[in-house]
């Protein structure tokens, strides 16, 4: 049995089609990433799976339970950390944890083992009000509260948005620890570089899934014809490349520009043209596409 099954799920808000026929399966104990920008439909999908919202069409189940018929049972077996901080700011760290445990009818001590590695980091502030915690500590407390009833499936909606690179990598280490305990994790993020930390990912945009696979396989699926271009004058280089008929696409990519050349185009010829037009030290080298390149390609070509 899959941990999550989504079958042809659609949802509109008035004229806005938030989800359009989404079909997806997440395996048990899988760390699955839903990757896409704001407005992709990620939160809507989370709300349907956690039974907070009904789909217009299609069916979905979590641990074999139907989101519509068995919604009460689902709520006992899932943990949900929404994108917005949703704990009680006037309760202390400890009170929040006890409150969530009480809601699920469990005892903090019984399930302490699961949250211990995370909770220990905020335990020195157990008496502090949740509203007075730093962003990173709030995030850890929210994760503890979502885990206190030992859920089978954990839903995390953009847990790392606006978080710095160091705290982000710490958070992903925590997720790896939870996965090792057999918990299925369904996590969304707008950061493309986090894809590689997932077992499998779905790329999502405007209510559609663009691709679903292991991150490495997705990157490999990019194909050839992608190059990294650089010159002494980076901005003029971009404009020159965009004006060339041999160039299919060109966009900034960290220290270089990524360029997609049309079939049959030799990069050496492009370099010559560019140098003749007055650019210096032009280099066009084969590049390996990553998730972000693929996302751009799929967004442009559907």
């Amino acid at each position: 049995m899959n941990a999550i099954e989504i079958n042809g799920v659609s949802k509109s808000y008035g004229a806005v089609q938030a989800l359009d026929q989404v079909t997806l399966s997440v395996h048990e104990a899988e760390l699955f990433g839903l990757i896409g920008p704001d407005g992709a439909g990620k939160t809507t999908l989370f709300r349907i799976l956690t039974t907070l919202l009904n789909a217009d069409r299609g069916t979905a189940s979590v641990t074999g339970l139907d989101v519509r018929r068995n919604y009460r049972d689902i709520r006992r077996v899932v943990g949900y950390m929404p994108g917005r901080f949703s704990l009680y700011p006037d309760l202390s760290v400890e009170e929040n944890l006890k409150f969530f445990a009480a809601l699920f009818g469990v005892d903090v001590h019984t399930n302490y083992g699961l949250i211990a590695p995370i909770y220990r980091q905020i335990e020195p502030f157990a008496q502090r009000r949740a509203g007075k915690l730093s962003g990173g500590m709030k995030q850890k407390l929210a994760l503890c509260c979502a885990l206190i009833h030992q859920p089978a499936v954990l839903f995390l909606d953009e847990p790392t948005t606006g978080v710095d690179a160091v705290s982000r990598s710490e958070f992903w280490q925590m997720l790896a620890g939870l996965k090792a305990q057999g918990i299925t994790i369904f996590v969304s993020t707008p950061y493309m570089d986090e894809a590689q930390l997932c077992d499998r990912v779905a790329l999502m945009d405007k209510g559609h899934l663009l691709a679903v696979d292991q991150p490495l396989k997705l990157a490999e699926s990019y194909g050839t014809r992608l190059y990294a271009a650089s010159a002494r004058e980076m901005w003029p280089l971009m404009q020159a490349l965009r004006g060339m008929s041999q160039v299919e696409d060109c966009y900034t990519f960290g220290e270089a520009h990524h360029v997609v050349l049309k079939q049959g185009t030799e990069p050496e010829a492009v370099v010559e043209d560019l140098e003749r037009s007055g650019l210096h030290d032009v280099k066009i080298l084969p590049a390996r596409g990553n998730i972000e390149d693929l996302f751009i390609k799929l967004m442009r070509h559907g």
């Binding site: 407005g39 690179a165 705290s167 707008p190 945009d205 960290g254």
Partner: protein, 249 residues
């Protein structure tokens, strides 16, 4: 007066204390005119506090600084006229249309009606806003709002533009279009001072500083920083520097 006209920003020993807590601890750096300067740091490192002092919104406890040639201690009102500021928390009015927002900000910056009209037309065509110019801002997608925020922050053609995490949450194509707006403004002579959590964007900056616990721990070009730390990406540079942080927000 040691007013400095050549540099866009020049600060020496800039410090801000809140009671016993030193949020910004003796930072010193210069930003040249026309430069894209990346101001990096972990959450809670003191970036926002430093940026508020540079924008004339908060006075330093200690140290000196000049922004657009004006003294941050004595000429904060002058500074505000010569800079633009955009943060991820938009200052746009959701209930007004695109054009109404532009007119409002042009008015706030004291632009003449005729100048404002020309400038608004120019910005609208740069953004490729057609019919959308009469759309209520609250109904626009996030990426459009970000581009509009950028335009509003530069409507008075500021010498220096401060961007506080301008690109959070948008898709990779929109994020790049946003950086192209930055590049084209810099091409016209504007200086950009930007914070971001996206390390590929750090690569687009001419120079970068990395703040840890209120102090600047590194400052150089992306290329030199990567060489210095012997790594391939800015992401790795950032982690090496910021990992030693003892405080968070």
């Amino acid at each position: 007066m040691d007013r400095n006209d050549r540099l866009a920003i020049s600060v020496k020993g800039l410090t801000k204390r809140f009671g016993a807590f030193t949020a910004v601890d003796h930072i010193t750096f210069d930003v040249a005119g026309g430069e894209i300067f990346g101001f990096l740091g972990a959450n809670g490192a003191g970036k926002t506090t430093a940026m508020r002092m540079l924008c004339g919104l908060s006075f330093p406890t200690e140290g000196k600084g000049w922004v657009a040639g004006f003294d941050i201690m004595k000429q904060s009102e002058q500074i505000k006229k010569h800079i633009g500021y955009m943060s991820q928390r938009f200052s746009l009015y959701d209930d007004l249309t695109v054009v109404e927002n532009m007119r409002l900000f042009a008015g706030i910056y004291g632009m003449k009606t005729s100048d404002a009209k020309l400038r608004i037309d120019e910005l609208l065509s740069q953004l490729h806003f057609g019919q959308e110019r009469h759309a209520i801002v609250g109904s626009l997608p996030l990426g459009w709002k970000q581009k509009l925020s950028f335009s509003v922050a530069t409507i008075h053609r500021p010498e220096i533009l401060f961007l506080d995490e301008p690109t959070g949450g948008v898709d990779p194509i929109t994020r790049r279009q946003f950086w192209e707006l930055i590049y084209s403004s810099v091409n016209e002579g504007m200086t950009v001072f930007v914070t971001t959590h996206y390390m590929d964007e750090a690569e687009y900056c001419n120079r970068l500083s990395v703040m840890v616990d209120g102090q600047i721990k590194a400052l150089n070009t992306p290329k030199e920083l990567k060489l210095q730390y012997g790594v391939d990406t800015m992401d790795e540079v950032f982690r090496r520097i910021a990992r030693g942080a003892t405080r968070s927000e």
